[in-house]
């Protein structure tokens, strides 16, 4: 991926701002047009409402795409998954192991933020916990059981966090609340726990 600049806190902030600008540029014309039509001819208010619905749905669709990176894929063979979970369990804390069993996501603290690693992607909760990047990345062997796919990503992330963030494709970058609404219940629980953990950690550092 030589053509991509290596990910850093600064590049992630810039990417986030660009994502927001891009979303605004796609939604604001609908809002302006709706307001203009309403002011010009009140009879066009229904059309304006349709335009506003478009403006609302665009970021929601992006958020849904982002949420999809951590949706669970196939269950895999039970015996292989159980064996893979043993290895994954050796790599993470008891708390992370339990969270994986419930949600399919493993939390991992990094230099760029707090990660939630899934089978075919990861969420990166950026410092401040207001913005989340959804990254699409996966192990190249499709036959692996889910826990091994997570372990692949986790080890790659630990070995080179910046490289991992560079290699992964960005599916969404935006407000945590917007993404949270589009996540399944399990992933939502993992996200809430990750945020609580990040805040507790910051509180502990502040005292």
């Amino acid at each position: 991926m030589y053509w991509r600049p290596r990910a850093s806190p600064r590049s992630l902030r810039r990417t986030g701002r660009l994502w927001t600008l891009s979303t605004i540029s796609q939604t604001v014309p609908f809002v302006i047009t709706a307001a203009f039509l309403g002011a010009l001819k009140p009879i066009t208010v229904p059309v304006g409402l349709i335009l506003l619905a478009h403006a609302w749905i665009i970021p929601e669709l992006y958020a849904a795409r982002g949420a999809n990176v951590v949706s669970r894929r196939g269950a895999g063979a039970p015996a292989a998954e159980a064996r893979a979970m043993l290895l994954l369990g050796d790599l993470v804390s008891h708390e992370a192991r339990e969270l994986y069993a419930r949600t399919g996501l493993v939390p991992e603290r990094g230099q760029l933020g707090l990660w939630l690693v899934g089978e075919a992607g990861a969420l990166l909760v950026l410092p401040g916990e207001r913005r989340v990047n959804c990254l699409c990345v996966k192990a190249t062997d499709p036959q692996l059981p889910p826990a091994d796919r997570v372990a692949h990503l986790l080890l790659a992330l630990r070995a080179d966090e910046s490289g991992f963030a560079t290699l992964a494709n960005l599916a969404f970058s935006g407000a945590r609340w917007r993404l949270r609404r589009r996540l399944g219940a399990r992933a939502r629980e993992a996200l809430d726990q990750a945020v609580a953990r990040a805040r507790a950690s910051r509180g502990a550092q502040g005292t």
């Binding site: 015996a79 979970m85 699409c136 192990a139 692996l144 630990r158 966090e161 290699l167």
Partner: protein, 74 residues
């Protein structure tokens, strides 16, 4: 006892186990390690949350060396 394991379709497979004093076991582990690297696997030693090291030579003193496939953007 150190272990060289490969993540694969079965969950994982132990390819070699050794102690540094057992030269025969070490030689077998080194051979298995080189074979897997030639087949495209990456070798990683995890060092707890947030830290892991990718290795190109088998670290004989590490308790666990894990072989993984490359990853790619989805």
């Amino acid at each position: 006892m150190s272990r060289l394991i490969r993540m694969d379709q079965t969950g994982h497979t132990t390819l070699a186990e050794w102690i540094e004093e057992d030269s025969e076991a070490v030689e077998a582990a080194l051979s298995a390690f080189r074979t897997q690297l030639n087949e495209g696997y990456f070798a990683v030693v995890s060092r707890g949350e947030g830290h892991a090291e990718q290795v190109r030579e088998l670290p004989l003193d590490e308790p666990l060396v894990i072989l993984r496939r490359p990853i790619a953007g989805g």
